[in-house]
């Protein structure tokens, strides 16, 4: 499978990157008396495992692909049609993330939920208007007032 091969290459590259980056980790000889088992050991072990496992995955897919021949093409997970919905949902979440602190919990949540519901083909005005306000205010009251967990106040100041 082509997509799995690309993933294997990316994971292999990630493993190499982590291994190389591990040289930047400082080592305290006083604490790590056992020599090689220092601060770099565990990230390196993980990096090596990632490199080995990604190579095994690529090999498995290659062998399986050869065995199945053209049949394997039917198993490729389709990415068709996900760009618009995933891009839309991700952009909305990034907008929410950026606006959450400056606008505050209540306003940002109301805006986010209204747009999200509309994006998800919800056309009921009752739901579009009432649900975001109800949910954001109840979450705010529950967390901030009853549980004492501070949520961003933003421009409303409460």
């Amino acid at each position: 499978m082509k997509s799995n091969f690309i993933i294997s290459v990316l994971l292999f590259a990630l493993g190499l990157f982590v291994y190389v980056s591990s040289y930047d980790i400082a080592v305290l000889a006083v604490v790590d008396r056992s020599g090689i088992i220092n601060s770099r050991f565990f990230p390196r072990l993980c990096a090596i495992l990632l490199i080995i496992f990604s190579a095994i995955m690529a090999l498995e897919d290659y062998l399986e692909g050869r065995k199945r021949g053209k049949e394997s093409k039917g198993n490729v997970p389709s990415n068709n049609g996900i760009i618009y919905p995933l891009g839309g949902v991700s952009l909305l979440c990034i907008f929410y993330l950026i606006m959450y602190y400056p606008l505050g919990h209540i306003i940002s949540t109301v805006i986010f939920m209204t747009i999200f519901l509309y994006f998800m083909s919800c056309r009921s005005y009752y739901i579009l208007l009432i649900l975001p306000v109800l949910l954001s205010v109840s979450i705010y009251l529950l967390f901030r007032t009853f549980l004492g967990v501070p949520l961003p106040e933003g421009i409303l100041g409460f």
Partner: protein
């Protein structure tokens, strides 16, 4: 023995006071609600309600907190089953089979089994707490770094059980989780790793945003995209809730599984530094190993819900054992509880049993009653909880995402946590698209620091000799069980 029975009976008489019972009821109800909210753990539930107990009678105050503790652990399973969002880290393993059951219209059965298993786990651990607290505490104290290493390696072997059809993809997910756990300060020497000279990454990634991202946010993205792809004017998938309760024969069938998981949970709970999450993973792996149809685990089998739920609730009694007998807090919840005990003038430790034994036994009785109250609340709430599954995805999705944001933010009031949750949500979405399981990431992320710390501490003790692990009988036993368990899982995967 007569003395013990007499003390327990007197404990029941002492706790059966209107104020104490009301405190337990309020505590359990609050615990269930807070535990069900993503991002709020049972530790936070106990911490939030501790100040309320300052003005109370010691027994009333501690009863309330024990109720919160029990309810909080159970509450986490409700959202884990219904919306694939574990309310607490202890409920992560409940997602594996609980959510598929809900998707098959068996949300009520899954919730019922979670409740009954939680109740049984809590009761078994409370009884063990009463009968064998001092003896178990002595065993737990013998756990040093090599024993912890054996235990955590055994915990990590669960990855083989939750890897799905391709073990290699589960292993890659597990290594990715281990890598995530290495970001921040090195747990042994305090050296910063992969922080790129910034302060915001010094404390590493918090567990809650990681688990919310991998389980909840990725699921919301997946459902939203799938719904959108199918048709623009879509009709939400109608999941019928076929049955709300389980039959007695089903409970009987799961009896051995629940008992075994309860014992696992109690024993792991006794060991300081472990907790409900590890207990649930180990119990799940054991239930799968012992099952006649292990290949069905992960597709929505009721034993896969019973095992982690019995184990995580059994840690409540287990965690109280070192706390009450030795004054050692085994996990964050008992650390908060110790504070609450001290504020009430009770100093946990060996002298507590001698000087204020009547209070201790009343609290043991309170723990048993808290589990009964939890059972009652659970049964009342199941009809209501199960209705969540009937809400259309297009309406439920933004509500869950909103809870994901608030839950991630509430952990440390940090937008970085929210960004981590979001990023892992997108990573989790693509992992799911390409059949990479998400659970190994979270398992490895939780156990990674424990494995590394115990490994390096052990080797420091032995001056670098790996024989320390083979010279330790408890460690050897854990390693043998690990290899046997992983070998069986691999053999079954190969066979299937």
């Amino acid at each position: 023995m007569e003395t013990l029975i007499g003390q327990v009976a007197k404990g029941f008489v002492d706790i059966c006071h209107f104020a104490h019972l009301l405190a337990i009821i309020i505590g359990v109800a609050n615990g269930i609600i807070i535990g069900a909210l993503p991002g709020l753990t049972s530790t936070m539930a106990v911490a939030v309600l501790t100040p309320i107990t300052f003005a109370m009678n010691p027994m009333t105050g501690i009863s309330l907190l024990l109720g919160v503790f029990c309810g909080g652990i159970y509450g986490g399973s409700i959202t884990a089953i219904l919306i694939r969002t574990p309310g607490t880290p202890a409920s992560i393993a409940t997602v594996f089979d609980g959510y598929p059951m809900a998707q098959k219209g068996e949300a009520g059965r899954a919730l019922s089994m979670a409740l009954i298993a939680s109740f049984c786990g809590g009761m078994v651990s409370a009884i063990i707490l009463i009968l064998g607290a001092p003896q178990l505490a002595k065993v737990a104290l013998r756990f040093g770094p090599p024993e912890y290493f054996g235990l955590t390696v055994f915990g990590i072997s669960v990855i083989a059980s939750v890897s799905g059809k391709r073990l290699i993809k589960g292993l890659i997910s597990g290594v990715f989780g281990l890598l995530l756990s290495t970001v921040g300060m090195d747990p042994v020497s305090g050296v910063p790793r992969f922080t790129y000279d910034t302060n915001i990454l010094l404390s590493g990634f918090n567990l809650i945003p990681v688990l919310i991202g991998i389980f909840a946010a990725s699921e919301v993205f997946y459902q939203a995209v799938e719904t959108f792809k199918k048709e623009k004017n879509f009709q939400p998938k109608d999941i019928p809730v076929t049955s709300l309760f389980i039959s007695l024969s089903e409970i009987r069938k799961s009896g051995m599984n629940i008992l075994r998981s309860s014992l696992i949970g109690t024993l792991i709970g006794v060991i300081p530094g472990t907790g409900g999450g590890i207990a649930a993973f180990v119990a799940y792996a054991e239930a799968k190993r012992a099952s006649k149809y292990p290949e069905k685990f992960g597709t929505g089998v009721i034993e896969g819900v019973a095992a982690p739920e019995a184990a995580n609730n059994a840690t409540t009694g287990g965690a109280l054992i070192p706390m009450l007998t030795l004054g050692i807090p085994g996990d964050p919840v008992t650390a908060v509880l110790i504070g609450a005990f001290m504020i009430q003038g009770l100093r946990p430790g060996p002298l507590l049993f001698q000087q204020q034994g009547h209070i201790v036994f009343a609290l043991f009785a309170g723990l048993l009653i808290a589990n009964i109250v939890m059972l009652a609340f659970g049964f009342i709430g199941i009809r209501l909880f199960a209705k969540i599954i009937k809400i259309p995805i297009r309406i439920l999705s933004p509500c869950i995402l909103c809870l994901c944001f608030v839950g991630s933010y509430a952990v440390a009031n940090s937008m970085l946590d929210v960004a981590v949750m979001l990023a892992l949500g997108i990573v989790g979405f693509f992992m799911r698209k390409h059949d990479f399981p998400g659970a190994p990431i979270v398992i490895a992320f939780i156990l990674g620091p424990l494995v590394e710390t115990s490994l390096r501490q052990s080797l420091s003790i032995s001056n670098g000799s790996w024989m320390i692990f083979l010279n330790n009988p408890i460690c050897v036993a854990f390693l043998i069980i690990t290899f046997v368990s992983a070998g069986i899982s691999m053999y079954r995967l190969h066979r299937d």
